[in-house]
Symmetry: C2
Subunit: 213 residues, 2 copies
DNA sequence: TAGATTGTTAATCGATTAACAATC
DNA sequence: TAGATTGTTAATCGATTAACAATC
C-alpha cells in the first residue's frame, strides 16, 4: 500500500468501472480473471488496469490473474464503499425522484436517509421508503441522522444556498446536479454531474461526421 | 478555422461549460467578458480558455475581451447545437422520466420526439407532450420521424439489444445511461453516463480525508 | 519445466501552464 | 500613447503505452 503517493484522478474514475464489471463477472460465476479479459469487458487496455491496481498493492497472482472475489473486496475498500455512507437528497423534482429510486446506490453501500423539499404536497410523504422533510429542517435532520453526503437536485438558482447550508450542517461531500458552479470550502469534497456536457459533445462529434463526408 | 487538426476531448468537454456560463452572463446583462472573468466563474484558468477557443478561431478582441453574444453563437455552432437534433428516449422508468422532463435539453436545441417502453400502462400515454410508443415499433418510428440520437435508459440487461436496434434503425449517436459497456459500430458515436463513478469517487476522497487526520 | 500473466520501469504521448509578442 | 487582453509558442507536467523481468 503506497499511502502518500497521489493517485491520478483518471485512475480513481476507472475503479468504479472495474468494481462494477468484476461484480458482473462474479455473477456469471467467474472466479479468476486476467487483466486482458477485464480490459476486454470494459474497453480499457490490460496494461492500464494492471498499472491502476498496482498503485494500491499487489492484488494479482503472476501467471494466474486476479481472484475476482478478493479484487472486488480490495477495490471496494479503496473506494470506501464498505463504510456505508448516509446520503440525503435535496430537491425531489424529476431528477431527485429518479435518484431516490436508483437501486444501484444501495448496492454500492450508500444509504439514502433523508429527502428535503419545499413543496408542502411532498413534505411528510415518503419516497422509496424515505421521509421527505421540509427544507427548513435541513440543518436539524442532517445533524441528527448524521448525513455525510448531500445530493443537490434543486434548480441552479438555489444550488449555492443549499450547498452552504449542507456544509454548515456538517456534510463532508456534495454530489451536485445543478447546472452551475457551486463553491464549497476546501475541507468539503464536491463532485458535479453535468448532463449537458455528454449530450453536447455527442452533438459536436455528429456534426463533424457530417462535414467529413 | 483549423479544420483537420484534432481537438482534444478535454477541450470539447469544456465547451458546454463555456456555453452555459456565457448564457448565464448574458442574462445578467454582460456584453463583453474576459477570459479572466469567464475562468473565474467556471473554475478554469484564463489561459486554458484562450487556448481552447483559439483552436477554433480568433473569437476575441485583444485588449478588450470576448463579445458574449458572438462567442455564444460561435461555440453553439462548434458544438452543432444549431442543428436541432431529434432525440428519442428508450425506457421511461424513473431516469427516463426525469430526462424527458429536463428543460435544459430543449434550450440546447435538442427536440425530444419519441419515447419507447414495453409497459402497456405507459404505451399510448404522453410524457411532457411526447408520445410513448411500444418498443416493438422502434425501427418504424425512428425512421419515420428521423431520430438522430437515441437515449438508453433501460436496465443493463436490455441495453445492448436496444442499442443494436437503434443503430439498425439509423440513429447516429447514442447517449447511454445503462451501467454496462455497450458496443456499437465505429460509424455510430456513443457517450455513456455512469452515475456510480461520481458517487464512488466522492466516497474515495472522503475516506482518505478520514485517514489523513 | 514451460506457459502465462503480473508488477514495474522506461519511452511516448498529450494536455496544461507559463511567458510573451501582437494588437486593440 | 499606455493599459489591457488576446492568441501562440515553448516549457512543464501528467497520464498512457510499451517492454520486460519476476514469478506463479
Amino acid at each position: 500500500m503506497k499511502g502518500h503517493i497521489v493517485i491520478s484522478k483518471a485512475t480513481i474514475d476507472r475503479l468504479p468501472l472495474y468494481f462494477r464489471t468484476l461484480r458482473q463477472a462474479q455473477e456469471e460465476g467467474v472466479e479468476i480473471i486476467s487483466s486482458e479479459e477485464l480490459g476486454r469487458r470494459i474497453g480499457v487496455t490490460p496494461e492500464q488496469i494492471r498499472k491502476d491496481l498496482a498503485s494500491f498493492g499487489e492484488f494479482g497472482k503472476k501467471g494466474v490473474g486476479y481472484y475476482v472475489r478478493e479484487l472486488i473486496r480490495h477495490i471496494g475498500e479503496i473506494l470506501g464503499l464498505h463504510r456505508n455512507w448516509n446520503i440525503a437528497i435535496v430537491g425531489i423534482g424529476h431528477l431527485g425522484w429518479a435518484l431516490a429510486n436508483y437501486r444501484n446506490f444501495a448496492s454500492l453501500g450508500f444509504n439514502l436517509v433523508a429527502i428535503f423539499d419545499v413543496d408542502p404536497a411532498k413534505v411528510g410523504q415518503k419516497v422509496n421508503g424515505v421521509q421527505v422533510h421540509h427544507l427548513q429542517d435541513l440543518e436539524m435532520v442532517v445533524k441528527e441522522i448524521g448525513v455525510q453526503i448531500g445530493v443537490i437536485t434543486v434548480p441552479a438558482e438555489q444550488a449555492q444556498d443549499v450547498a452552504n447550508r449542507l456544509v454548515a450542517a456538517g456534510v463532508r461531500g456534495i454530489w451536485n446536479f445543478a447546472p452551475i458552479k457551486v463553491n464549497v470550502p476546501p475541507s468539503v469534497r464536491i463532485v458535479s454531474e453535468d448532463l449537458s456536457v455528454g449530450l453536447s459533445s455527442l452533438s459536436y462529434y455528429l456534426s463533424r461526421q457530417l462535414c467529413d463526408k
